[in-house]
């Protein structure tokens, strides 16, 4: 009798975990192993005739020539380093802009949304679910300068008293601003959402306590609201920083100028464009992953800690 009961208990213990097996296998074969493939190609060699990559699946056969050359190219001044530094600048400026533009919005909806809250939230989330490419296309349309038509934004600017000639958004130093505008426009919904969630969670009684104890509204914001929303700011910043570092389509769509390319463009070009550049592209992907890996792990650790607290 005891064995039968033990059997049922055993079945109970393993039945549900077994449901995860197909999904886990899928992720192993199509998420984890492909990561290894990047390393195998980056540390592999190339066919001398067709320049096709020969991946080194065995770690003992790894050769670090291509990887070393690529890393050296990043450290020496030149095209690749310029692309990397440009990426860094774009990301920092774009994240800072998202914070300045987005914080008041998230704060207003969380604190003063009132009856409009659902409408405001819906409008705030809507871009989240519009295709990124569609939203970039919208700006390409608005900024396009044609011989017979300076574009809608230029026409708006020319209607103001202090406008000069129509601006060509895709060249010169303005093009940097155009790409940053694209990045901010594209990623800001992803920044605002976690920030809103953090601000919305703040207990009002804490703000009231601060006011009761004599703090001014500004001091209350500085000493209570801002520290309590720090996690939200960090989560939002990390969640948009990660895809921005791998972005290649925003500069290509907004300006298509070689002066605005990011590190993602170098990877895209090496893997999809140039013949025989696969090992270099793989090496760059590895270097990029290492660079942003710390950010990823930081984010995941803080998310799973928050999830554990929520479970309690």
């Amino acid at each position: 009798m005891t064995t039968a009961v033990g059997g049922v208990v055993g079945e109970r213990r393993w039945y549900y975990p077994a449901l995860a097996v197909p999904g886990v296998a899928w992720l192993l074969l199509l998420f984890i192993l492909p990561f290894y493939a990047i390393a195998a190609v980056a540390f592999g060699t190339r066919d001398l005739i067709f320049a096709l990559p020969i991946p080194a699946w065995n770690p003992l056969e790894w050769q670090f020539g291509t990887f070393r050359d690529t890393a050296a190219e990043l450290l020496a001044s030149g095209g690749l380093q310029a692309q990397f530094l440009r990426t860094l600048t774009y990301v920092i400026v774009a994240v800072a802009t998202c914070l300045v533009v987005g914080y008041p919005v998230a704060y207003y909806i969380a604190r003063y949304g009132g009856r409009m809250k659902v409408i405001l939230l819906t409008l705030m989330i809507a871009p989240f679910w519009m295709s990124y490419l569609m939203r970039m296309l919208a700006w390409v349309n608005l900024l396009a300068v044609k011989p017979d038509d300076p574009g809608l934004v230029n026409r708006l600017l020319m209607a103001t008293p202090f406008a000069g000639d129509p601006i060509n958004w895709s060249s010169g130093s303005v093009s940097n601003l155009t790409v940053i505008l694209g990045l901010v426009y594209g990623y800001i919904p992803f920044f605002i959402l976690p920030l809103y969630a953090a601000l919305d969670r703040i207990d009002r009684s804490q703000l009231e306590a601060s006011r009761d104890l004599g703090a001014s509204p500004a001091w209350t914001f500085w000493r209570v609201t801002l520290p309590l929303s720090k996690q939200g700011i960090l989560a939002g910043a990390v969640i948009i920083t990660l895809p921005m570092f791998g972005d290649y389509y925003t500069p290509n769509l907004m300006t298509a100028s070689p002066d605005n390319t990011m590190i993602g463009n170098a990877i895209d070009f090496a893997l999809q464009g140039g013949q025989g550049q696969q090992p270099k592209g793989a090496a760059l992907t590895l270097l990029l992953s290492a660079f942003i890996g710390a950010l990823m792990i930081y984010y995941l650790v803080s998310v799973s800690r928050a999830a554990k607290e929520a479970q309690r």
């Binding site: 490419l133 970039m136 793989a282 990029l288 942003i292």
Partner: protein
């Protein structure tokens, strides 16, 4: 009469014009400035897209000057007799739909299984598995695209195309299904299925007759969320495409700056409507369910709290 009531009376007494004047005399007063800022922000995020939709109905070729209403650019997608017929648009729409519709059932089935398995597995390694599960959400798409591109062409010897794209789409949508389902699983708890099993149900019976019906809203809304993220995807689709697998985002990417005419806006509008529609359905399912559960919060608020 308390001071608050007095203040309220005074507020009511200010005529509308006076209130407008006080608004302008003190635009930095806290909520006012914030409210203007928020509405400007919302206009800034929505207006370009609304304009893009408007130009898809333009009578002329321009994408920045409106010359009258017409649906000719929609006809250019499927009507071969149309003057501006572009034979690459309909295949792109079909490819996008095909991928999204195939991804939906596969990703949802695998993801729900994964969520149940991970939530009910308390043994060694479950923490690591739950942690790893989140990685696809934070991995930049270019890294995921590059890794699958490299393994498909160098180890699996899978020709880039629809199959490769489908495998890619399922991989990145899996985690979303797990997140949505897991949230619901925690809310349900383990009591119901254990009660069912104590009353003599087999684990399979408890799953089929207790757990799955309770999970139905999460499963259904994952279904529509997967549709929306699959149809919007660009990077993975592009990395895993060689020939005859152009999706709408790939088409937009290649044509936006050069060969674009309003038919590109038309097809982008169709895609956007499809994904917004499926997200609305997902939210409505959750709301319908929440009303029965009466959590007191709206589904949109729940959705906004849904992080990552």
């Amino acid at each position: 009469v308390t001071t608050a009531e007095v203040a309220l009376e005074r507020e009511r007494a200010i005529p509308r014009l006076g209130r407008l004047r006080s608004f302008f005399s003190n635009p930095w007063g806290k909520p006012r400035f914030l409210s203007v800022w928020t509405w400007l922000y919302i206009i800034w995020t929505i207006a370009p897209v609304v304009l893009a939709v408007q130009f898809s109905f333009n009578d002329g070729r321009s994408r920045s000057t409106f010359q009258g209403f017409s649906t000719q650019w929609y006809q250019a997608i499927w009507d071969e007799a149309s003057l501006n017929f572009d034979d690459t648009l309909l295949p792109a729409l079909t490819q996008s739909l095909k991928l999204a519709l195939l991804t939906m059932p596969i990703a949802t089935t695998l993801g729900v299984g994964l969520a149940i398995g991970l939530a009910r597995w308390r043994g060694r390694g479950s923490g690591a598995a739950n942690f790893l599960m989140l990685f696809p959400l934070v991995t930049p798409e270019i890294v995921m695209g590059a890794s699958m591109f490299l393994i498909f062409s160098n180890l699996y010897h899978l020709r880039l195309g629809t199959t490769a794209q489908l495998l890619g789409h399922v991989t990145f949508s899996l985690s979303y299904v797990v997140i949505v389902t897991r949230g619901r699983l925690f809310a349900i708890g383990r009591d119901y299925e254990e009660a069912a099993m104590d009353l003599g149900a087999s684990p399979a019976g408890a799953l089929r007759r207790v757990l799955l019906p309770l999970l139905a809203p999460a499963i259904l809304s994952s279904f529509f969320i997967v549709f929306a993220i699959s149809i919007d995807d660009f990077v993975i689709s592009q990395f895993l495409c060689a020939q005859d697998c152009t999706t709408i985002p790939i088409k937009i990417y290649s044509a936006a700056r050069n060969a674009g005419n309003p038919s590109l806006n038309a097809i982008a509008t169709i895609m956007m409507m499809l994904s917004l529609l499926s997200i609305t359905v997902a939210v409505l399912i959750l709301r319908w369910f929440n009303r029965r559960q009466s959590t007191g919060r709206s589904a949109v608020e729940d959705f906004a709290r849904f992080e990552i």
